[in-house]
Symmetry: C2
Subunit: 208 residues, 2 copies
DNA sequence: CCATGTGAATGCGTTCACAGCC
DNA sequence: GGCTGTGAACGCATTCACATGG
């Protein structure tokens, strides 16, 4: 399996959700088209990058296809995560159950306030920020949820990068500067609103 | 100004953040390259789609470029939004101040529980879900934050679509089916972790 | 001289069309 | 017959290279 085109990765990720929620045991590429809006050509091409045989003769075997996608994307690998910044958002994620269901193991939380680290009750161990590098290496943590305020986000990201983190989910509304090889995904609701806003046609009919 | 390529839109959206946080009055495309990782060629091309003259001879005028980008993307237009589903997440957004700063006006909240609508204190008016269509049309609401549980997300999205909504930020972990012309942006942290996971190379050095 | 701006070339992802298979 | 699978054609975005302007 050569490596997949970026857009294909993004579609396959979404495809797992479609398969999980589709109910039936078999789906055709045409059905996926109506559910997602991607053309059936694109979907078949995407699936053709995977190795394995999922065709039943009249559609794809949902279970087989699902596990092939997960395996191709490395979603069957358990990965260790941490939360950096234990404010309102960060401390909420400490108790978020869905992570475990999807193969992500939350193993540490960090905050620059030693006081907060000591007081907060949490199902995962908490550490003061200066232990970040050491703990990440020791546990083999690969991903971080970066929940600190915008002003300290870049500094925290630098420390994560130095500790060898592989990916960061960034909740701060700034563009992080990081060395290549580290994946960043920005999660900021206002940016999503802006992205939608940018796609609303200006004074034009939708079907020109 | 012809319409912009999709990838260019996405980059320009991020570019506004870079410009806001860059401090200086002038930036070169090379500086933007180090801050974002996009090649200076790409950046110059993106900017060349805009009309106006931002070059000072030694870099771009940050303020002028910023406002040109915002205008090209329609970010200078005030847009009305609503929150659908007033659980923990939805009710948090009712009080989120950053929306207004960025030109988004939150004008309504909806929930299927009439009880919750009556009890919840909120700076914006709340309505029972059955009034959704009417209120959206009356106020000219263009965008919705969809914060209902996964099981009811599709039904709620259908009602939003019927009311003529232009875009939806979807917090439910399902792929919504909607007619063309409506922008959807999915926000689900586990999906971001999966996206990162899919990009962590499997047992390979990063510099092969 | 340095940095932008832009037609032209390149390369990659999507679309097509048809062969293969149930 | 219907659906998948895939080399080939196409089209769009990125990259290049050089002309232009401060």
């Amino acid at each position: 399996m050569a490596d997949l085109p970026e857009p294909t990765i993004e579609r396959l990720l979404q495809l797992t959700r479609v398969l999980d929620n589709c109910g039936a045991a078999v789906v055709t590429s045409a059905e996926i088209e109506t559910r997602t809006g991607w053309s059936s050509h694109t979907i078949r091409k995407d699936i053709s990058y995977l190795d394995g045989d999922f065709s039943t003769g009249s559609g794809y075997d949902v279970a087989a296809l699902g596990s092939a996608v997960r395996s191709a994307l490395g979603l069957d690998i358990k990965r260790k995560c941490c939360v950096v910044g234990l404010g309102r958002l960060g401390s909420a994620y400490l108790n978020f159950p869905a992570f475990a269901d999807e193969g992500f193991e939350l193993v540490a939380g960090f905050d620059s306030s030693v006081n907060r680290v000591e007081i907060l009750r949490s199902p995962v161990p908490l550490y003061p920020a200066f232990k970040m590098g050491e703990v990440i290496v020791r546990f083999g943590i690969e991903m971080a949820l970066l929940c600190v305020p915008a002003a300290s986000a870049q500094a925290a990201a630098d420390r994560l990068a130095a500790a060898g983190i592989k990916g960061i989910v960034n909740f701060a509304p700034i563009a992080l500067e990081l060395p290549p090889g580290i994946s960043v995904r920005n999660v900021y609701v206002v940016d999503e609103l802006r992205a939608i806003s940018a796609r609303i046609p200006i004074r034009k009919k939708e079907n020109p």
